[in-house]
Amino acid sequence: MWVKRILIAAVFNGLAALGSRTLQAWDLNEGHRFQYLALWYGVGAVAAIVPAIRARARPSLADVAAGIALGITGLVGEICILRALQDLDGSVVYSGVIAGEIALVGIIGAVAFREKLGPYGVAGIIAGVASVVLLTLG
C-alpha cells in the first residue's frame, strides 16, 4: 500500500514540479517566481477545498496550526533556495538540499519517531541520493 501511495504522490509532485521547469525554459523563473507560486498554491488551494468540503472537514485549531506551519516551512525553504542560488551553482544547491534534507529527515525519523531503517532502506536512500545528485549535475 505504501509503495502505491508514495509512487502516486511522487508522480503528482513531479507533474507539479514540471511547471517550474517550464517556467525556467520560458525565462520567467528568476523575476516571477513568487507570483507563480502564489498562483500555483492558489489553484491548489481551490482544488483542495473541494475534497475538504466533501469530507465535511471543518478545520480544528490543530489543523489550522499544522497548515500554517507547513506553509511557513515550505516558503522559507523556497526563499532560502533562491537566496543560495545567488551565491552558489544550481547543481550544488539542488543536490545539496535534497541530499541534506533526506539525511536530516532520516535522523529525525530515527531519533524522534524511532523509525529504524534496514540494510535495504539504507541502500535505497544511498541509491536515491546518488540519483538526485547525478540528475542535478546534468
Binding site: 514540471l18 511547471g19 498554491y41
Partner: protein, 154 residues
C-alpha cells in the same frame, strides 16, 4: 559562506516540513482540512513575499500572460493530490524512505524536459534514472521486510 548558510536553512525548513507532515498524518488531524489551510496560507504568503522581494514580478509580458496562468493552473491542481497521497503514504510508512521517494519525483520534470523541450538523454541522466528505479525497489524491499519483522513504528 552565506550561500551555504541559506542552503543549510533550506534543508532545515524542508526537513521540518516532512516532520510536520509525519505528525499530522498520524495524529487525529483532518488531512483534507490541513491541506486546504496549508495551500491557502502558502498562496497568500507567496503573494506577500512576491510583493516585497519581486515587486516587478506581478507584471508579465502580455504575450506570456495566458501561458503563465495556464501553466500555474494546470500544475498547481496537481499539488493537493500529491500532498494527500504523501500524507496517506506517511500513515503507513517511514519518514526517510517516503521523503526519498518523493524527492525522486525530480525524474518527472527530467522526462518532461526530454519529451517537451527536446533535451538529450545523457548517459549520466540515464544512469540517474536507473539508480532511481533501483532505489524504489530497495525502499519497497525495506518496507516489506519491516512489515514482516514488525519493525514498523506506527
Amino acid at each position: 559562506l552565506i550561500g551555504y548558510a541559506f542552503m543549510l536553512l533550506s534543508i532545515v525548513s524542508f526537513a521540518a516540513l516532512h516532520t510536520i507532515y509525519r505528525i499530522t498524518g498520524r495524529r487525529k488531524c483532518r488531512v483534507e482540512a490541513v491541506n486546504a489551510v496549508f495551500l491557502s496560507f502558502a498562496s497568500a504568503a507567496a503573494c506577500v513575499v512576491g510583493a516585497v522581494l519581486q515587486p516587478d514580478g506581478f507584471i508579465v509580458e502580455p504575450e506570456m500572460r495566458i501561458r503563465f496562468v495556464l501553466l500555474a493552473a494546470v500544475t498547481g491542481a496537481m499539488v493537493p493530490l500529491g500532498v494527500l497521497f504523501y500524507m496517506a503514504a506517511l500513515k503507513v510508512g517511514k519518514m526517510a524512505p517516503s521523503a526519498m521517494a518523493l524527492g525522486l519525483s525530480i525524474i518527472v520534470p527530467i522526462f518532461g524536459s526530454i519529451l517537451v523541450f527536446g533535451e538529450r538523454l545523457t548517459p549520466s541522466r540515464a544512469a540517474a534514472i536507473c539508480l532511481a528505479l533501483i532505489s524504489i525497489v530497495f525502499l519497497w524491499l525495506d518496507k516489506r521486510g519491516s512489515e514482516r519483522s514488525g519493525r514498523d513504528v506506527g
